[in-house]
Subunit: 294 residues, 2 copies
């Protein structure tokens, strides 16, 4: 089969063997925002046409391709949901020469009733489930970090934190950005930001501290980027951490970012496991294996 | 005397009678960032030259004009500090035809030892002190909101919250801004944002909720700006509120913003008093009255 992780800004296609092994892969900056006039079929032909000619006839899509701005809007399943639920709620897309399905997204409510949505991350988490073993806490750090609680081998609930996007806006469009010098990471400054996040005073006050520490010559300007990163990741972790304190957190995503989260979680006394494989591919293979293709 | 509130982006000059009454006033977009080559004296001549010719010979400056980027760097006095302390720690500026002094800024440490600075707000608070009556809590909302605790008629300590600047960055440079429609304020959406800030989950999670509520059709796109405003102001208030719960909060600043803070503080069960007069002018007059000009 062919699995495609198709997000807002990225397109990654995989030719998969029956056992989930990756036979071939393609990657392009053809996220859904780059595709005009709904010509998604053309993109599939361009990047997977030769695989189809070679006999592939099954395509599974996950990600924002199933959003209102994508090819066809897929469902948003209510949590709790497991891999079987995902495989049974696919949205077909008419396509000449292959059967195409889109994996559903998920929805839940946070502890106070505010709705939550994910689209794409459910497939990554589906890929991680076998290594989690029934119960656990997953963190997918990024622009909109997702934290998912796993219970009975299903995604029981999740929350989103706008950490990556807030970091970009604050570091590029506030006085903090004007202080920042260089892109180098500074582990000590990161750790100080994480430690600061535990203080009372609130995030909006802590943000200003990144400036006053520099003014007071207690933080180097070259460290402000890492300090801000530690501050925001620390606040996210503090708000998102739940469950028994001896429970490992399963991290998946961009390697550098996962390493920062692991560092901040270690400071909070938590153990972590970083997924070494591409969770999206694992999930596409796993869900695809349960689909009734005919 | 002449009092000048000279900030980063604004310049406001007042001709004051001995009793503090405002005889005349000038305002211009001549904040220190607009003045090149350190030609601050030219700006004074341009906007107050006729007052000097008419016999004024005393000029008191407050604000970022006393910062490293200003005319001359003034001191940063350690809290606690009262009006007398401010009036005794002025920085003289050589000027042909008048005696010019700059009011010092203030510094303190928050509960966890992080340094804090203010420059300009100490003068506003000095103007409010007579109406506060010895003990109280002051909030000056804005780009960098200041909360000051007053004890024994002195500024005992203060904290800064980057609320206004975070609001601007988040509303202009994140996905939340793309949702926003219109500039109209929506009191109900503001109140919902304030109420949300009390929930557990953290600010970074609450930010994403502004998006999911719209996706779930539980918040109108026209309400997202006010919702975000309520969320941030609510988080600031929650972190900054200290002292006895029956103590009024003294607000001073831009009228619309003060009204929003009063609304959010009322939701937190706190009474407020909004200063009806320009606190900076009151403070310049009050400090100026204690200065030994000769």
């Amino acid at each position: 089969m062919i699995g495609i992780d198709w997000g807002t800004s990225s397109f990654r296609a995989f030719r998969l063997a029956d056992d989930g092994a990756v036979l071939d892969r393609r990657q392009a900056s053809r996220g859904i925002m780059s595709v005009s006039d709904g010509k998604f079929a053309d993109v599939v032909q361009e990047f997977a046409g030769d695989w189809l000619k070679a006999g592939e006839a099954r395509i599974l899509l996950s990600g924002m391709i199933g959003s209102r701005q994508g090819w066809r809007e897929s469902q948003a399943l209510q949590c709790p949901a497991g891999v079987e639920n995902l495989a049974q709620a696919l949205t077909p897309v008419p396509f000449d020469g292959a059967t195409i399905f889109i994996v559903p997204g998920l929805t839940t409510r946070d502890a106070h009733g505010t709705p939550e949505f994910m689209r794409g991350e459910e497939t990554q988490i589906a890929g991680l489930l076998p290594s989690i073993g029934g119960e656990g806490l997953v963190c997918l750090p990024g622009t909109h970090s997702k934290w998912a609680r796993i219970a009975d081998s299903r995604i029981a609930s999740f929350t989103t934190h706008m950490t990556g996007e807030a970091f970009a806006a604050l570091s590029q469009h506030t006085i903090l950005g004007r202080l920042m010098q260089g892109d180098e990471s500074d582990e000590q400054a990161f750790d100080r930001g994480v430690a600061r996040s535990v203080d009372s005073g609130g995030l909006l006050h802590h943000l200003f501290g990144a400036r006053t520490l520099v003014l007071a010559a207690q933080l180097a300007e070259t460290g402000t980027r890492s300090y801000l990163s530690g501050l925001l990741i620390g606040h996210e972790i503090r708000a998102a951490l739940t469950g028994p304190s001896d429970q490992s957190i399963h991290l998946a995503g961009e390697a550098t970012l996962c390493a920062l989260y692991a560092r901040a979680l270690a400071a909070a006394g938590r153990k972590t496991m970083i997924a070494s494989d591409d969770a999206a591919v694992l999930g596409l293979a796993r869900i695809g294996g349960l689909v009734k293709w005919t």
